[in-house]
Symmetry: C2
Subunit: 184 residues, 2 copies
């Protein structure tokens, strides 16, 4: 698979909170930095921050603008990572932006910590199509949103029954499993 | 390898800053949370926060105490992750604590984003010995500190020449490569 035809979307709504209620989560500064650095390291085409609230999108744009402009001199590696981040109101806007760029609609691949009988394996993608990997903040993407995606990726699994990785960690691991180079 | 005989140390000194100067970095709240959640997910024996400055160790202990006590009701999964975190002044203190627990000294495995001719591969460990995986904050562990470790792990590698993962992301990926369960 060509990582340049793969994209990440970080969705802040609709996601669950810890009680199972559907909410919008607040932007987390380090999500932007960590996921931007991971997508850049693994050669992805881009990273979309999805938030329905205009003030939160403005905040994201201000953070990105800082590192693109004044911060660039301080840390050029951050600029290189953050210049590929885009802020959009909905997941469909992210899908459309990828479609416009590649002239082909990406497969939307939802990620989820809960197991599912219909999940696709990490080696189970159709390599010919571009993909948009969809991550949820809070306690994860709603079932309703996942149902609008084309597929659902198998959950990450360690040797325990505890499965509460941060979205930053989960995204990094998924990209490494899909695009990491192993010498062994 | 038994993950319960593996531990992580996050070192705040001695590490490089972006100019190559040896510094102590400030504690980052999300490092504690993310790495605790990753070590718990992958079944590790524990996680050591290494900081030479007493005020920073006290801050770490206050954060951990909050989630162990008042925060536990709010989010029991955070408590479960953070209860295995220990705060120590030096890497040697972490190694000693592991030795006391297992009655066997762990191999100290340094991690580094820079390539090295002597690095061990992810499949190259002696499985019989316990291990302490050592991660650096800032711009990474100093060469001097790495020379005191028993081995140096090969760097993570994506398909690009950009390699600036956050330490939170790098730790998550290393644990997944060593202890993740793959169905494929």
């Amino acid at each position: 698979m060509d990582p340049a035809r793969a994209f990440v979307a970080l969705v802040h709504h609709p996601v669950y909170d810890r009680t199972g209620k559907v909410v919008s989560t607040a932007l987390t500064n380090l999500d932007l930095h960590d996921i931007a650095r991971s997508t850049r390291t693994y050669g992805l085409g881009g990273f979309f921050v999805v938030h329905p609230v205009e003030a939160q999108r403005e905040l994201a744009s201000r953070i990105l603008g800082h590192w693109r402009d004044e911060g660039a001199e301080l840390n050029d590696f951050r600029r290189m990572a953050l210049e590929r981040v885009h802020v959009v109101p909905t997941l469909e806007d992210a899908a459309k932006a990828v479609t416009d760029r590649l002239r082909e609609r990406p497969q939307l691949i939802a990620t989820c910590a809960r197991p599912s009988g219909t999940a696709v394996r990490f080696t189970g993608f159709d390599c010919k199509l571009p993909i948009l990997l969809v991550f949820g903040t809070g306690w994860g993407l709603t079932e309703e949103l996942m149902a609008t995606c084309d597929a659902r990726l198998e959950p990450l699994q360690g040797p325990t029954d505890y499965n509460h990785l941060s979205v930053r960690s989960a995204c990094a691991i998924v990209l490494d499993r899909l695009y990491g180079i192993r010498q062994d």
